[in-house]
């Protein structure tokens, strides 16, 4: 992973905007931003992250590579599309934010221990195993991410909801033994592997 990062640094030198344009989804639209700030003001999660979208776009143009790719902002995007609807230049802000998150993740520069990123990873690993989400395991893994004691505390705090979901048959305790999956598990894994291969090739990452 670090090699991909070094290759990118080597290739684009000091032109981070060009790097973003070439490698990030909708990256060519970044330069259209006119810094009006309407996206920052429209973001419902705005106060909870380090850099607002228009700040990220300016940082890209200023060549602040480490700060942008190490930012937690892209991982806080909930895809509400408020910014995209209001942007006077019609920048696909949501798509760019996800594109940046993906690029930072692939380069291994995304922030460690960022909760939404951790959860997304957990979710993907859980899902890609059997083609179906194992809710029970996902919940448990999420609760116990910070160790046994913290996990028990969190599970106790949430037990009301857990029991409710159990009664409504939204969670099955039997899932602890591996859970359900898609019928053609082999085929499913082949599809995922192929998709990854295509994406790697498109984005210039050798597997």
């Amino acid at each position: 992973m670090t090699t991909a990062n070094q290759a990118a640094i080597e290739r684009y030198r000091n032109n981070f905007l060009k790097e973003v344009e070439a490698n990030v989804e909708e990256g060519h639209m970044v330069k259209m931003c006119m810094q009006c700030g309407v996206c920052a003001g429209s973001c419902p999660l705005g106060p909870h992250w380090t850099h607002s979208p228009q700040k990220i776009f300016m940082m890209i143009r200023a060549g602040k590579r480490d700060e942008v790719l190490g930012s937690d902002s892209m991982f806080m995007c909930t895809s509400c599309y408020n910014c995209m609807v209001r942007c006077p230049r019609q920048l696909p802000i949501t798509h760019i934010m996800h594109g940046l998150a993906n690029y930072a993740h692939r380069l291994g520069l995304a922030p460690k221990g960022q909760p939404t990123r951790d959860f997304a990873t957990l979710f993907w690993n859980n899902l890609s195993k059997k083609g179906r989400v194992n809710e029970l395991m996902l919940t448990l893994q999420h609760y116990f991410r910070n160790g046994l004691v913290a996990g028990i505390k969190e599970a106790m705090a949430m037990q009301g909801i857990g029991l409710g979901m159990f009664k409504a048959k939204r969670i099955n305790p039997m899932e602890i033994f591996g859970g359900h999956g898609v019928k053609d598990l082999k085929g499913f894994h082949a599809i995922i592997a192929k998709a990854k291969e295509i994406e790697d090739r498109k984005k210039g990452f050798t597997a």
Binding site: M34, C36, G37, V38, G41, G46, R86, R89
Partner: protein, 428 residues
């Protein structure tokens, strides 16, 4: 009536605002025959509805007055009010134009005594105050109205109210039998001085125009500041009539926005800078204006005006496009939400009144013009393929009064050139 005087050496000017008046006058004073067509009952257009001009802060009454006098004195201009162009066919030097003349219900006998307005009690929304108040259904549009003739609103024709107006008229000027007329003219050139209209602010959903009473447009603010306006020149906010001492101006409301108007309307920055001085004029040091902007575009030579406003302690500037407006339910104050991009501070600020500096949309947007007319991507008129039709003033580009007059003079010169060419070909 006027049909007989029109020939292919006649210039038809469409629109009687400052641009149309200028284009008509410049050509007429060169000895050309001009027909000036205006949709509303009076000349003056949007200029007559301004309180002051920038940068000299003088009143439009002055400049319009001079132009109106020139028009009254000039025999080469035929004025047709309440008239719209239905179609224009033909080519350069030889157009056939069909006009629709709406009934005024008042004939030339009118002496503007105002007895019909006294007699009538029905009221209609007042378009000259952008609907902020109501006027009698028998009315003189405004004090500077030319022609100085009353108008009977079609809504009271055929009702007892209309009969009251007729009975009150001492000179028999009220004619309720008037019908819509269609007139066809032959003309040589058309000058489209159709002007602009404010962009519909209600379409800018997050700003709540139409939902929140204390969010108004810059044009409505002009009327509030004008002594002839609905509040007699006092800056009172619509919700409760309280003095609006803390006013926010939001720039680019609809302009420079791919979702609304693509172009920069050019005048709005200067208009808001000018309007901050209305607040100062009304409340002195107690007044407070805040301008929310993307970047201030004090066009052309007006940078010094901007610098002087910057020195004014009652005016502050926030570099930010406001994200949305909410309303404080208790006092009706609009609350502005956004991020100040100079330092990236998040704000939620209450003001007494919010003025949206709305953009200029060509008045002809949505109107079918002759196929020959060339429009740009924002519907401003660039000209025509055979160069026999021209755009003038705000119909051609978003312009302030000063530049609209320049544009109209240029269009007039081009029109005169076409007429001269037509005349010389005919002589051969």
């Amino acid at each position: 009536m006027t049909a007989s005087i029109a020939t292919n050496q006649t210039i038809l000017v469409v629109g009687g605002g400052i641009s149309g008046m200028t284009a008509a006058l410049e050509a007429a004073e060169c000895g050309k025959q001009v027909i000036l067509v205006e949709k509303t009952p009076v000349l003056g257009g949007r200029t007559a509805r301004l309180y002051r001009y920038f940068p000299k802060m003088c009143h439009p009454t002055c400049g319009l007055e001079i132009n109106l006098r020139r028009i009254k004195q000039n025999r080469n201009i035929r004025l047709m009010t309440m008239t719209e162009v239905v179609s224009a066919t033909g080519s350069r030097g030889n157009y056939s134009v069909t006009l629709k003349v709406a009934p005024r219900f008042v004939n030339e006998n009118c002496t503007a005594c105002g007895k019909c307005a006294e007699a009538v009690s029905a009221e209609v929304a007042n378009p000259w105050n952008y609907g902020l108040d109501k006027m009698k259904a028998a009315y003189l549009p405004h004090n500077m109205a030319h022609p100085q003739r009353y108008v009977i609103d079609p809504s009271i024709v055929g009702t007892p109210e209309g009969e009251k107006a007729k009975a009150a008229c001492p000179v028999g000027a009220v004619d309720l039998e008037m019908k819509e007329e269609t007139v066809t003219l032959q003309v040589g050139v058309l000058v489209w001085a159709t002007g602009w209209r404010p962009y519909d602010a209600a379409k800018i959903q997050p700003y709540g125009y139409g939902r929140f009473k204390n969010v108004i447009t810059s044009l409505e603010f002009e009327r509030l500041a004008d002594p002839h306006g609905p509040t007699g020149g006092k800056i009172l906010r619509p919700s409760d009539g309280k003095e609006a001492k803390n006013v926010a101006f939001i720039q680019c409301a609809g302009s420079r926005d791919e979702n609304h108007l693509r172009h920069c309307s050019r005048i709005c920055c200067m208009a808001s800078l000018k309007q901050t001085q209305y607040v100062r004029e009304a409340f002195g040091d107690e007044g407070k204006s805040t301008v929310y902007y993307i970047d201030i575009r004090a066009i052309d030579r007006f940078e010094d005006f901007y610098q002087n406003v910057q020195k004014d302690a009652t005016v502050s500037f926030v570099k930010s496009k406001v994200a949305r407006i909410a309303e404080n339910a208790e006092n009706g104050n609009p609350i502005l939400h956004g991020v100040n991009t100079e330092g990236y501070q998040r704000y939620a600020v209450e003001h007494d009144l919010v003025v949206l500096a709305v953009g200029m949309e060509p008045e002809i947007t949505g109107v079918k013009l002759p196929d020959d007319v060339i429009l740009d991507s924002s519907n401003f008129i660039e000209g025509s393929k055979d160069q026999g039709m021209f755009g003038a003033g705000a119909a051609a580009s978003p312009l302030d009064v000063n530049r609209a007059v320049q544009s109209a003079t240029a269009a007039s010169l081009r029109a005169i050139q076409v007429i001269r060419k037509t005349a010389s070909t005919e002589a051969v």
